[in-house]
Symmetry: C2
Subunit: 349 residues, 2 copies
């Protein structure tokens, strides 16, 4: 894009097609009627010259950037990939560019001169903990199109939020243990303190117990921190103290993996269920019964909602996407590799 490169401009097209640049712009954007034959000629010239409008010029003249931004604290986690896949493909289909910034709030770099915001994107998809409340306030005040991912609506500003159904799915999961496997002493492993997902899943856990007239025993609730090691140690402790339980809802798959490991090491048996359906869930032994979260769909939906916002359409404050129970063998069900892995071969390690 240096001045020497001399890419064709709208002027070149106009001259060669024998029309004004306004007309070229009109056929480019279908922003007004153009006589069919003229339009045709312009289109041919565009093709012949291999002309592509410069986004920068369009932005400057048209007050929109043609891109949306994704703000997240870090590029990691099981969900990042499908999420990004959903966002990227939806953005591309809508002919929008995607800008990504991974910014930890704590890094707070004052020299960070170009945050993703009103200056360079038309809308923003924001993950928890990637933007400070000051910026959020400003964005909210100016009514900037923002969609919140995997989080509750904020106090600072009323941006629509997208979530995944946790409570119902957790309830279904625990109900399965009760109804199908006749489990009665089902333990629950909480995630990090105050974690919304953990809270909702615990609510689902309690609903299930209640629905079947089982009492919620505080002894049976531990802190698994959504983490392999933490869960591993909690279960080992339980076994040491002789706690009586016949099933564990580990809070998420990672913790479930720790639980399975601890049980095996102690030579104990118990049903174990997780949440998330991480990629290896079907490959470990026993294959994990869990809840599949529609992550890619969340990404696509986020894009759809920012677009709606940009268009000025109404967007509901909360959009909750349904999760799906995935029954494999760790709950006690017989394992069918065909359905359990959805066509993939099982490699039980």
């Amino acid at each position: 894009m240096s001045p020497k490169t001399q890419l064709p401009t709208i002027e070149d097209v106009a001259r060669q097609a024998g029309v004004s640049i306004a007309t070229v712009s009109r056929v480019l954007n279908s922003t007004a009627m153009v006589e069919a034959s003229t339009a045709q000629r312009v289109r041919e010239t565009i093709a012949a010259l291999n002309y592509i409008p410069r986004p920068a010029a369009r932005s400057l003249a048209g007050f929109k950037t043609g891109s949306i931004g994704l703000l997240l604290p870090e590029i990691s986690g099981e969900f990042f990939q499908p999420l990004l896949r959903g966002i990227e493909s939806a953005a591309r289909e809508a002919d929008y560019d995607l800008l990504i910034h991974s910014t930890r709030l704590t890094h707070h770099d004052p020299s960070y001169s170009r945050p993703l915001a009103e200056h360079n994107v038309d809308g923003l998809i924001i993950f928890p903990e990637s933007v400070n409340s000051g910026d959020l306030l400003r964005l909210g005040r100016m009514n900037f199109p923002v969609v919140l991912l995997m989080q509750e609506p904020l106090e600072e500003a009323h941006f629509p939020a997208i979530q995944v159904e946790n409570r119902l799915a957790a309830q279904e999961l625990v109900s399965h243990l009760i109804r199908v496997h006749a489990k009665r002493r089902i333990a629950f492993l909480r995630g990090p303190a105050g974690h919304m997902d953990s809270l909702s899943r615990e609510a689902g856990y309690r609903s299930a117990l209640q629905a079947y007239g089982l009492e919620a025993n505080p002894e049976l609730v531990g802190d698994g921190a959504f983490d392999k090691q933490a869960a591993y140690h909690v279960v080992l402790d339980w076994l040491k103290t002789g706690l009586d339980f016949d099933a564990v809802f580990a809070g998420n798959d990672d913790a479930a993996i720790g639980v399975v490991s601890a049980l095996r090491q102690a030579g104990r048996e118990a049903a174990v269920v997780g949440f998330d359906d991480v990629p290896i869930a079907g490959y470990i032994h026993p294959a994990l019964t869990t809840v599949s979260v529609p992550v890619e769909q969340v990404g696509r939906t986020a894009v759809k909602l920012v677009m709606d916002l940009m268009r000025g359409d109404f967007v509901p404050p909360i959009t909750s996407l349904p999760s799906r129970l995935v029954v494999r063998e760790s709950c006690g069900c017989p394992f069918d590799p065909q359905t359990g892995l959805e066509g993939d071969l099982p490699f039980p390690f």
Copy 2:
């Protein structure tokens, strides 16, 4: 970015600071000397107004976009995440925006009006199979800054390429089997036909054999396709036909996982080594001996090289990053969870 929003412009800053917009631009870009006191006043005004230059205007006036593009066939694979992490952080540190397009060549969408190229980015990081040769040719002719990721230099254009050291690491890996574990009949599983990584690893495999005076037995080379299932079946076939081998270099970790699974199912023992050091490599049983590939470093280096290219600096045609042997237990070594998992707890499934 609508006209009503009225973000502060360089004009507002100039007026309020009592200088011309040229001067504001100068302190903004340190593009010329400005008297200290004036510069100070301008900076204060900028801060007071919370002024941020509009990227679109800068691009249009300055002939550069301030962003670099990443082109890849799909958002998937073990390497995507660390790679993107490296690219994103390096780009951000250089104060460049990152645009991502995932485009399969086969999709060939003619309506795809805004490819990532000279119109919207200053440089491009390209993955194999995400751009057709026509575009590559054009980019090459205009000397556009392009860096090739994980691939050989192209015929179409002479873009610098970044690779990871495959041959040497593979040689080291196989030498370990020979020297430390006294293996003599070491099988090799090829990746997809013509896959560069596979070819290099095979070369390393042969070098190691040769270095120890072992003959390369064609029987011992199979097609694992870098894939769990393919590798699984190859090994099962070998066992069925009674092929004699005491070790398998599976080509990559995924295939190694299939090999381990097949051996276990058949109740056979053999050393197995992979390549890549995927995240679960230390968690499966037996923990995989493999080669760690500096993926994030590849990403960071890619950004550095495009930047060099953009600056007009010389960039070597091939930059090869060193891989690192990771000895765990599948080769036959005693497993030390501390070093093997690098501080993480082992969860052997």
